[in-house]
């Protein structure tokens, strides 16, 4: 090891990660097999919580929320990546970070308020429907914008889109300008530019943004609570509901399952796309 033994500074992050990350997550798994008591839990070993999860509507809700989350990731990619490319290529260098700042501004308002503020926009008599009717795109208001899975997806995109833009912009920013000049010298058209240059070179950013949005999509209970209908539940909401019902082992089990699912997905992603190569630094 090149890190000297007595250099405490290097150990701080490790200690921090153990206390605040590894330990609680391990405890989550341990607690998930504990016996439930009236107000807390007691040591023991039972798979009752897992049974409770897998043989109920919770499993279906969990899978559906992953699907919705995937849709959010995909839509964020479709909207966010072109925005990042536009900022990288068309906005003057000096203004690029200022434009980025614009996307940070919404975060100065609490998330619960931002999400809640979408209701009057998306509702049946909301601004969006009014606009669509006034411009003649539709005849009668669409009620599916809110209190439906669509509402949840819209909420997730609105909330998390900046992360896709940030992470892909940062990846694109690392591409030296020479690369674009070489492309114009060789005559790379738009389609090829996207497939051969932007996509592979921004892959680490796309990966980071996608993971972030996916994890938050299944984990943040706020969005389905406010924008989803009665049946709209994601993993975060399942866990929250379990905590409210004082079923702590179940909440822990849901968290453990979430972790395992993500690790499983990462593994599959790694086998398919070789993440090590994807995340190699460019230069």
């Amino acid at each position: 090891m090149f890190i000297s033994k007595n250099n405490i500074l290097f150990k701080v992050p490790v200690i921090f990660m153990i206390i605040f990350f590894v330990l609680p997550l391990s405890l989550t798994v341990v607690w998930s097999v504990f016996e439930r008591t009236m107000f807390w839990m007691e040591p023991g070993f039972t798979l009752f919580s897992y049974e409770n999860f897998f043989f109920s509507a919770r499993l279906e809700n969990f899978v559906v929320s992953m699907l919705h989350s995937s849709v959010s990731v995909f839509c964020s990619f479709l909207i966010g990546f072109p925005i990042a490319i536009f900022i990288r290529r068309r906005v003057k260098k000096i203004a690029q970070h200022r434009v980025m700042l614009l996307f940070i501004l919404p975060f100065m308002v609490s998330e619960i308020i931002r999400i809640f503020a979408l209701r009057p926009i998306l509702s049946r008599n909301g601004v969006l429907n009014d606009l669509l009717i006034n411009f003649g795109f539709i005849d009668s208001p669409i009620s599916a914008f809110v209190f439906t899975p669509t509402g949840v997806v819209i909420g997730e995109i609105v909330s998390f889109l900046p992360f896709m833009i940030f992470s892909t912009f940062l990846a694109l920013e690392a591409i030296p300008n020479y690369i674009f000049e070489v492309c114009s010298d060789l005559g790379v058209n738009r389609r090829k530019m996207f497939a051969d240059i932007y996509l592979p070179l921004a892959a680490p950013g796309l990966f980071a943004g996608s993971v972030f949005i996916f994890v938050n999509g299944i984990g943040i209970a706020l969005i389905p609570t406010i924008l989803g209908g009665p049946g709209s539940v994601n993993a975060g909401l399942i866990a929250t509901q379990a905590i409210i019902a004082l079923d702590f082992p179940l909440a822990m089990a849901v968290s453990a399952i979430m972790m395992c699912t993500l690790m499983g997905l990462l593994y599959i992603g790694h086998r398919l796309f070789n993440l090590t190569k994807l995340l190699e630094p460019i230069s």
Binding site: P176, Y178, E181, V182, S184, L186, G187, L201, I282, S283
Partner: protein, 360 residues
Amino acid sequence: MANKNAIEVKNLVKTYGDVYALNNVNLNIAEGEYFVLLGPSGGGKTTLLRSIGGFIRPDSGNVSIKGNNVDNLPPDKRPTSMVFQGFALFPHMSVSQNIGYGLKLKSIAKEIIISKVNKMMDLVGLTGLSNRMPHELSGGQQQRVQLARALILENDVLLLDEPLSALDAQLRKDMCIELKRLQKTVGITFVHVTHNQEEAMSVADRIAIIADGEMIEEGTPQEIYSNPKNKFTAEFIGENNIFTGLITELNKNSITVDIIEDQINILNKNYNVKKNQKVSLSVKSESIEIGINKKVTDKVNKLQGKVTEITFLGQFVRYLILLKNGQEIQVRTSHESKNIKLNDNVSLSWDLEDFLLHEK
């Protein structure tokens, strides 16, 4: 009519705000020539190269390549390829993918691309490295990949924008030799931008000196080095000492210039000058002979001075001499000679024809 000029640049102007990057530049580059644009940084040489390549749109003026006006063509539609300053390779593609990418874009059959790429790799000296990634290559190898990527498109002109500036001195020397060899082999026109005069001298058939957005002077390396017409060229190329003064005497054979405290007599090579005109003189530091001062001789072509610095440069020794008029000049000799020490009074002499006169 056969057009012998590969590139014709006419009255090219490019401004950035109030600054003229190119101020009415005219230039002709012959076919099959290794042409170097040499000049200090920020002088406009890269702007000129990029205007030829189509990366910069000039404010006015024309660029023709092989007799065809290319003013309205984008870089990829011009018969030029560019080699960039930095290591501008696609970081996610292997050596062979980088080289073949231009052909792939033209939907050329895979087998043809592979054979062409292999040929190109042999030509630029990258044999056996086809599967390496750019970050696994040395700086010199990366520039070879750039060369191959540009040459494989078989365009008429190769533009090189400070291609060797990121390489260390030894590698730069080697690459100069290779570039020259490569240009002879492929036979196309090379236009090479550099601020390094040694690099320029070693590769160029002809050199243009570009500074402050203007074409100062052009000629073969020999002409530019031994007979610079312009004061700027004399200052920039080689190690010249510049004197300024007034012409006091003028006849068919010689001109006498008063440089305050001293006078210098030079050969009149049909200079178009008048008496009392202010002119500059230049003399190469290696053309001056240095000797221990014995006695002030009657010859006009001798200056007296005091040694203020001695620098040993391996092959040469360089002396800094303070003249009577307060000017410091450099003298370079190939041998550390005659026990000249710091603060010695020395006399300097030269042949009449060594001094050149510059009106500007």
